[in-house]
């Protein structure tokens, strides 16, 4: 049971380039999330999904896109990278049922845009 996995671990992009950050979970969780964490800041929600085929915007969605074609995968797409997108990106997942609301996180992707 690998939990939540993210690839790549590190990436350097030039301004205007595009890339997809991959996220997968093997816990059969319905809810998945993408966050970014800037230095000295908390986690900001970019997009989330409540199940395959259903996605919604979080606090900071501009410049990003997501899709959720399967329960397991939730990729995050950056179309035209900007220096403001330099950050650490975390993917997380959680159960739909039950009283616990804890989210399980991947190890993160450190992205630098220059």
């Amino acid at each position: 049971n690998a939990g939540v996995t993210q690839t790549p671990k590190f990436r350097i992009l030039k301004i205007g380039q595009s890339m997809t950050l991959q996220c997968a979970q093997d816990m059969n969780h319905n809810y998945m999330y993408w966050y970014r964490q800037d230095p000295g800041m908390g986690l900001k929600l970019i997009y989330y999904s409540v199940g395959a085929g259903i996605t919604d915007k979080g606090e900071v969605p501009n410049g990003y896109n997501v899709s959720r074609s399967t329960t397991e995968d939730f990729p995050l797409r950056l179309e035209l990278a900007a220096p403001s997108q330099t950050s650490v990106y975390f993917c997380a997942s959680t159960e739909r049922r039950g009283g616990g609301y804890e989210q399980y996180f991947g190890p993160g992707t450190r992205l630098t845009v220059t």
């Binding site: 000295g40 908390g42 986690l43 929600l45 975390f90 609301y101 804890e102 989210q103 996180f105 190890p107």
Partner: protein
């Protein structure tokens, strides 16, 4: 507008003593609170949580206290160990069938041997 506030960016304690990390919130619609621990270059990991209908929850060395009237919660670590050195985040969930979390900025805890 920060709805979940961790006003101490850092905290330093001696090994074996108690660590107390604080968190204040502004929205009375929060009904569930969580603490996460984060080591450098890793994702946050869940530590302990508390429902708004309780005022205390314990798990081993970790205890979370909730004071709803003051909109304040605290995480106590007793005894503190060097391996507890990490950034601790407080997070809150709105009431209802909503699984989005609102996060504080974190407190960096250093436990000195």
């Amino acid at each position: 507008d920060q709805q979940v506030k961790q006003n101490s960016p850092s905290l330093s304690v001696q090994e074996g003593r108690i660590s107390i990390l604080n968190c204040d919130y502004t929205n009375s619609m929060f009904d569930y609170f969580l603490w996460y621990k984060k080591y450098p270059a890793e994702g946050p990991t869940f530590l302990i949580s508390i429902s708004s209908i309780k005022d205390k929850n314990e798990d081993g060395r970790f205890t979370v206290f909730l004071n709803k009237s003051a909109k304040h919660l605290s995480l106590h670590i007793v005894p503190s160990q060097p391996g507890d050195s990490a950034v601790y985040f407080c997070a809150a969930k709105y009431a209802g069938n909503n699984r989005k979390l609102i996060w504080g900025l974190g407190t960096s805890l250093a436990v000195n041997p």
